[in-house]
Amino acid sequence: MTNTIPKYASIEVVHTMSELIPGFKTYQDFCGKKKFTPADPNPNQQIKSVDEKEVLSERGLGQILAVAVLINDVDVIGGSGGNIGFQVIEDAVANMQKLSRSIQEKLFIQEITLLLRKRE
């Protein structure tokens, strides 16, 4: 909930999801600290590995951004993509094609995203 409520803007929040989700990778680790652009995090709704050999379709970032606006998290992606990551899942619709499901690192935003995702 860092930067969420103005009074607590400077309080740091522990990154939780990377500790709990198997295979979790931050955008920063996957795309490279220098190559990743927070202002354009998923061009063509894809994310590209630092060596550009792997390109994954991205899903879920839109949900996370909407929840970030809701809770006023102004550091949702982070300077080089360290606050957000993904888990590779298989897309049953597209014959088990690999997809990256975006996941926010902080518990608060992730829990609200899950609350809303339950409606799908």
Partner: protein, 401 residues
């Protein structure tokens, strides 16, 4: 414009909504749509649910403050993106279909319905309640026996004393208080001179105002109908560890409850993990005594009692469930699961999730077989519960079901 980072060049702090890929924009707007349809009751339920106390305690904020905050932000989202959402709905017939689905959802989750469900869920929990054991002089004793002894107004030892009920998260401390409250209310209906239970939800208070929790609860929740100088009261102070901002105050002493000692009995619940060295002084009346008991893990007999009752009720309402024998068989087949299901919260989670999990695994493995993949999906039991403090995360999230 969405701010996505806090440091760096000014122009790099922001992400332009218009530059997002169409699919991401759609996800964004659909989520905004869901947010706009989320009721205050749902937001409040999110923060007030068992296990979510980390939000209130960490920042010293109350559930109401956090709820108001989200409702306020919701209005801002409506102002900023309402028009984009409207346009998207008009342009895209597929989304209008989704709108219909969401309409159904909203009907299900209307405020009134949410309140009813909340009441029903609480009643269900009370119905499934299994009296836990506590340790007394080295042996296991039913909690209800120790409580009955304590709240007996003929028992002089309970005057000017505090009964501290300790237990792990999910062990049933709050549930035990709710059951006691119901029990006392029933007795009071039959005999007017019976003591009145006063339920004090400590998570509604913070460390600055908790010293007024008794008087405020009497005033706001009970309209000052009960005067502790004239009426016998049983104070059920639930969730000492959930007081926003943390608390180490002695609620008996700071509220000067000694003056009512003859007429009140005080029970306080607290998570065991919250208690640090010397914690007794947070509870023991200055000139009185502290009686403390810790809820013990369920025995096999208690587990079976719970599952049997759950199963009988689930079958009555055509809810997916197993029989007691099937539950026993499944639990035995999953290594380590038995060690995890020793409290009512996890028992409920497992009772609800195991049948769903089986359905999911069957469907997923069938799909894999159809795709020519031999390897079967299985789930490790510890992932079913994952983390006791993150109660919203259960099997449905782990499996993606």
């Amino acid at each position: 414009m969405i701010r996505v980072r806090t440091s760096g060049d000014q122009e790099k702090l922001w992400l332009h909504y218009d530059n997002l890929p169409p699919g991401t924009k759609q996800e964004f707007l659909m989520t905004v749509h869901k947010i706009l349809r989320t009721t205050r009751a749902t937001f409040r339920g999110f923060f007030a649910r068992p296990g979510a106390h980390h939000f209130t305690t960490y920042f010293n904020l109350t559930v109401d403050f956090l709820t108001d905050f989200l409702v306020e932000r919701q209005a801002k989202l409506r102002a900023e993106y309402g028009r984009d959402l409207e346009l998207l709905m008009k342009k895209n017939p597929a989304l209008s279909e989704a709108e219909v689905t969401l309409g159904d959802f909203d009907d299900v989750f209307s405020q009134e319905k949410a309140r009813k469900e909340e009441v029903m869920a609480a009643q269900e929990e009370l119905y499934f309640y299994v009296d836990p054991n506590v340790i007394c002089s080295g042996s296991l004793v039913p909690l209800s026996a120790k409580i009955d002894e304590f709240i007996d107004f003929a028992n002089e030892n309970s005057s000017n004393a505090v009964f501290l009920l300790k237990g792990d998260s999910g062990s049933g401390k709050s549930l035990s208080l709710r059951v006691l409250e119901q029990h006392l209310l029933n007795k009071k209906r039959d005999a007017e001179r019976s003591p009145m239970p006063i339920y004090i939800d400590l998570k509604q208070f913070n460390k600055a105002n908790v010293s007024r929790s008794f008087q405020e609860t009497l005033q706001k929740q009970y309209n000052n109908e009960f005067d502790p100088k004239k009426t016998r009261l049983v104070l059920l102070m639930d969730g000492y560890d959930e007081i926003a901002g943390g608390c180490q105050q002695n609620l008996y002493d700071v509220q000067q409850l000694k003056q009512y000692a003859q007429n009140i009995r005080v029970i306080i619940t607290c998570r065991t993990q919250y208690l640090s060295t010397g914690y007794q002084q947070w509870f023991k009346p200055a000139e009185g005594t502290l009686k403390e008991f810790e809820i013990q893990p369920f025995s096999t007999q208690q587990i079976n009692q719970y599952l049997e009752r759950y199963s009988e009720e689930a079958i009555k309402v055509h809810k997916r469930s197993y029989t007691l024998e099937e539950y026993q068989e499944k639990i035995a087949s999953l290594p380590n699961l038995k060690e995890l299901i020793t409290n009512p919260f996890i028992l409920r989670l497992v009772a609800e999730s195991l049948p769903q999990l089986e359905d999911y695994l069957k469907a997923a493995n069938n799909k894999k077989k159809q795709s020519g993949i031999q390897e079967e999906i299985s789930v490790q039991p510890e992932k079913i519960v994952l983390n006791r403090d993150m109660r919203s995360i259960n099997v449905s999230w782990i499996t993606g079901l």
